[in-house]
């Protein structure tokens, strides 16, 4: 391996393809069309956080409709809605049923594909993984930039779809056929510029982006590990990103195929997902028939279940890093966590049809997927247990990243445990179309993954900027968020168990009367949850202020402010293009905290051993 003692300015191109070195990088080369993994990571982070805010805003409007059905939102919010999406979708500031459906579909799409995954993989994966494996950059820097510059147009296409006639896609983030094929269809709609078609095109673009990113990630981890960084010395975060990249690589293409087929159904008039003799609005739909709506569901969930682990594994990785650093202990059961993660990655490809128990695909098929689903809970429990046991006996530093990481555990646990009744066929049939399911997966993704993302932002912010975010504002962000998250999602379990359906766009009330007697007593939670949601938006203000304030004004810190052991803290701060001043060599595992006999409570993995040479094996 070539050792290249490098310099802390951005003058040297690491470009391996024989191009000339850039003497002066212009602003747009350095910050816009950069090929530096750290800049791309930050681009991903900022774009994804904006989409997170947008997804949240859509939900804010939906919660208003649920709490106060068919009234215009006050303080100009209703007027703003009409101004944005038009009188037809939002008459006089009130939310129409179509707009509610559209916001629901786009909330899911934006949150999963444009916010959480880009944040977890695009931002954290890009920024942290090359640093943690001791590489100068990702293996293919241009491909990395291409990945971001495909993701952004994908997002823009999704945004444009809000403003075409008929509004954005309305068939759920799952786009179930045949509903999705017949929607936004007919003389009133443009053949391409309509919500559902743009959704499909946007997804196709996003899948390209994820493909480029995942190939890059795996090659970086396999090929660019520093000297001495053996597989079992990798930080758990890298393992999590490694398995995540494989899931993205292999699970997304079938959805790509399905997306192409649905586009064909919509544009070329094929019948991939259209059954024989389908009647729409009293007329036989003009198509050949012979297709299968179930086929779409199979292809969709073949992606979307591994996708769940794409959402959660990087979060677990961040939590492991933060917990180990702040308990000043190695994480407990590192190897079990690694093997559990690998096992989870493989099994996640065999559980998809547990989303389809209600489709009547047959009891034998259901039993199979019920079994695999219960099996996959085992590695999840192993990982979470290891994290919880890691806390035991630690002298814990409760800084902001640690608070978010610790809060992640019970929240994720709650989300996971409430999933078990959903894994079983018999109970699933009762619960599937209720708010119980919404509560279950939001506990995993919202106070679970998003909390872990916050932990990661607070934890790696000093490395990215050279400054720490404010602890006071951080705590002001954390505590209300924790309480309000539960205020939103806990009542969903009560409502779901009472039978409140998850797709009622007026919250189960019509003209002031409850739709069904049986759910009547659970509907008062609607306004409670909505207020929790809006207050949660307010609780994010300290974070937004903190994020920008600390950029220029935060407390200046050195290269290793958290006294951590993993390689990313061995670079100058912020790391220059090329990251390391000299080629790092790894001498030990990733979490050597509080090693007996050492003079400090952390032994960085890059520090040469002083006493014995026995650690030098595997070099």
């Amino acid at each position: 391996m070539e050792t290249n003692i490098n310099h802390s300015n951005a003058h040297t191109s690491h470009d391996d393809q024989g191009h000339h070195e850039h003497q002066e990088l212009k602003f747009w080369q350095k910050y816009i069309f950069s090929v530096d993994h750290k800049v791309i990571g930050i681009q991903y982070a900022i774009t994804a956080l904006l989409f997170l805010l947008l997804g949240f805003a859509l939900m804010g409007y939906m919660r208003y409709q649920l709490a106060y059905p068919d009234t215009a939102a006050p303080y100009g919010f209703g007027k703003a809605l009409t101004a944005l999406v038009g009188q037809e979708m939002a008459p006089d500031g009130k939310m129409s049923g179509a707009l509610y459906n559209s916001f629901g579909a786009m909330h899911g799409t934006i949150m999963v594909f444009l916010a959480i995954v880009p944040l977890a993989v695009g931002a954290f994966g890009n920024f942290v993984v090359p640093l943690q494996v001791g590489a100068g950059d990702m293996a293919f820097p241009k491909l990395n930039a291409a990945s971001y510059w495909t993701y952004l147009p994908g997002g823009v296409i999704m945004l444009i779809s809000f403003f075409v006639p008929g509004g954005a896609a309305k068939s759920g983030w799952t786009s179930y056929a045949p509903l999705s094929v017949i929607s936004d269809h007919g003389p009133a709609f443009h053949p391409i510029m309509n919500g559902q078609t743009l959704w499909l095109i946007g997804m196709t673009v996003l899948i390209f982006s994820s493909l480029l990113g995942s190939v890059n990630m795996i090659v970086t981890i396999v090929q660019l590990r520093a000297k001495g960084l053996t597989w079992m010395r990798l930080p758990y975060f890298v393992w999590a990103q490694f398995v995540t990249a494989f899931l993205l690589l292999l699970a997304f293409p079938p959805l790509q195929a399905a997306g192409v087929m649905q586009l064909m159904d919509r544009i070329a008039g094929t019948s991939f997902f259209m059954p024989t003799g389908l009647v729409v609005n009293g007329q036989i739909w003009d198509h050949s028939g012979g297709g299968s709506p179930l086929l779409w569901q199979h292809l969709f969930w073949f992606l979307a279940h591994p996708e769940v682990y794409v959402l959660i594994l990087p979060a677990l990785g961040i939590v492991a890093e933060v917990v180990s650093n702040n308990t000043r202990k190695p994480i407990w059961g590192y190897k079990s966590m690694v093997y559990a993660t690998l096992f989870l990655g493989v099994v996640s490809f065999t559980v998809w049809a547990h989303h389809m128990y209600l489709t009547g695909m047959g009891t034998k098929v259901s039993s199979f997927f019920q079994t695999t689903t219960i099996i996959i809970s085992i590695p999840s429990v192993i990982i979470l247990s290891c994290l919880v046991i890691s806390l035991y006996g630690g002298s814990i530093r409760f800084n902001t990243p640690m608070l978010f990481a610790v809060a992640f555990m019970p929240m994720f646990g709650l989300g996971g445990l409430t999933g078990i009744p959903l894994a079983f066929n018999a109970t699933n049939i009762v619960l599937h179309d209720t708010y119980y399911v919404i509560g279950h997966f939001h506990y995993i993704v919202a106070p679970g993954t998003i909390f872990a993302m916050f932990a990661g932002i607070y934890y790696w912010y000093p490395k990215a900027t050279g400054r720490k975010m404010s602890e006071f504002l951080g705590k002001l962000h954390f505590w209300p968020s924790l309480i309000l998250m539960n205020g939103i999602f806990m009542p969903m379990f009560f409502q779901g168990l009472a039978g409140v359906h998850r797709r009622w766009h007026t919250g189960g009330v019509v003209n002031g009367e409850a739709l069904f007697e049986v759910t009547k007593h659970a509907l008062h939670w609607n306004s409670f949850m909505s207020w929790s949601a809006w207050l949660l938006a307010v609780a994010q203000i300290p974070f937004i202020i903190n994020f920008f304030w600390a950029w220029k004004r935060g407390e200046k810190v050195g290269d290793n402010p958290w006294e951590a052991t993993t390689l990313e803290w061995n670079t100058p701060t912020p790391p220059p293009h090329g990251n390391f001043l000299k080629e790092p060599i790894v001498y030990r595992g990733p979490y050597e905290y509080s090693v007996p006999g050492e003079d400090k409570d952390f032994t960085p993995s890059w520090e040469e051993p002083k006493k014995s040479k026995t650690d030098l094996v595997n070099l």
Binding site: D16, F252, P254, M264, L299
Partner: protein, 266 residues
């Protein structure tokens, strides 16, 4: 720090970066085509009895295309070997042949698509079904002229009309066009994707495959033309590039090796 292993192998993995990247990309491609093949199986198994057409496509051009791809897999390996042996002329020859073969494949495929544009199926209001080529001269606003196919063993997509083919309604080997009044027809369409799910999956899969071939032609042409300058500046890396694009090309061939029997023979 520079990025290592762009040209030479990493000792413990035995791979350079781009080669691993290509293998991973191909894994993802397997899943992409795998999704479509699964859809094919799903649709075929789900089709009602007698509703899935068998051997409706002309095997000859597809067989020629199969041969073309098999030959091109040899020529591309030869072009890589020529780079390894330092013979630029030979490289250009074999790479040029590969590009021509790939272009011939696309040409024959286009011809196959073109014939389907004029291949029609129709159902009359007396429940007679006929497939055949359109006689464009004799077809007008009122009349549809069809030269019937020799084998009329093919069901229309419009299943819900409960059409039963009346065997012998059209004599086999008829060379003269049969004239139908348009007002007598309940279903009339050429063999485009919307005709039935077989043509839908046929066009989707082969078009996606053809896009891969066209993409490969662009990349191969680049290496044949301007990209070949690297032969003089960094031959080891140039050989790597040809090896990696060769991997992709072999994959594209392999997909066709599956597509050919599945769509034409089974």
């Amino acid at each position: 720090m520079d990025i290592p292993y762009t040209v030479n192998n990493r000792p413990d993995t035995g791979l350079y970066n781009a080669k691993l990247g290509m293998w991973l990309f191909l894994a993802s491609e397997v899943m992409l085509f795998g999704g479509l093949f699964s859809a094919y199986i799903f649709l075929r198994l789900g089709a009602d009895d007698g509703m899935w057409p068998h051997q409706i496509l002309d095997v000859k051009p597809a067989f020629i295309n199969t041969m073309i791809l098999i030959i091109s897999s040899v020529t591309i390996v030869q072009s890589w070997a020529a780079v390894k042996m330092g013979n630029l002329k030979k490289f250009k020859l074999y790479m040029g042949m590969t590009i021509l073969l790939a272009s011939a494949f696309v040409g024959i495929k286009s011809y196959e698509y073109y014939t389907k544009v004029h291949h029609y199926g129709l159902i009359t209001n007396t429940r007679i079904q006929v497939t055949g080529y359109l006689d464009q001269d004799k077809t007008n606003d009122q009349v549809v002229a069809i030269i019937p196919d020799k084998h009329q063993a093919f069901e229309s997509g419009k299943k819900f009309m409960e059409t039963k083919l009346e065997a012998g309604a059209v004599s086999a080997g008829h060379h003269e066009p049969i004239l139908f009044q348009r007002s007598d027809l309940v279903w009339f369409s050429n063999f485009m994707p919307r005709y039935n799910t077989f043509f839908a999956i046929y066009f989707t899969m082969t078009a996606l495959h053809a896009l891969h071939v066209i993409g490969a032609i662009v990349v191969l042409a680049y290496f044949w033309g301007p990209g070949s300058k690297m032969f003089h500046t960094n031959r080891a890396q140039f050989a790597n590039r040809i090896e990696v694009v060769g991997l992709f090309w072999h994959f594209v061939e392999l997909v066709w090796i599956f597509l050919f029997p599945v769509l034409y023979l089974l």
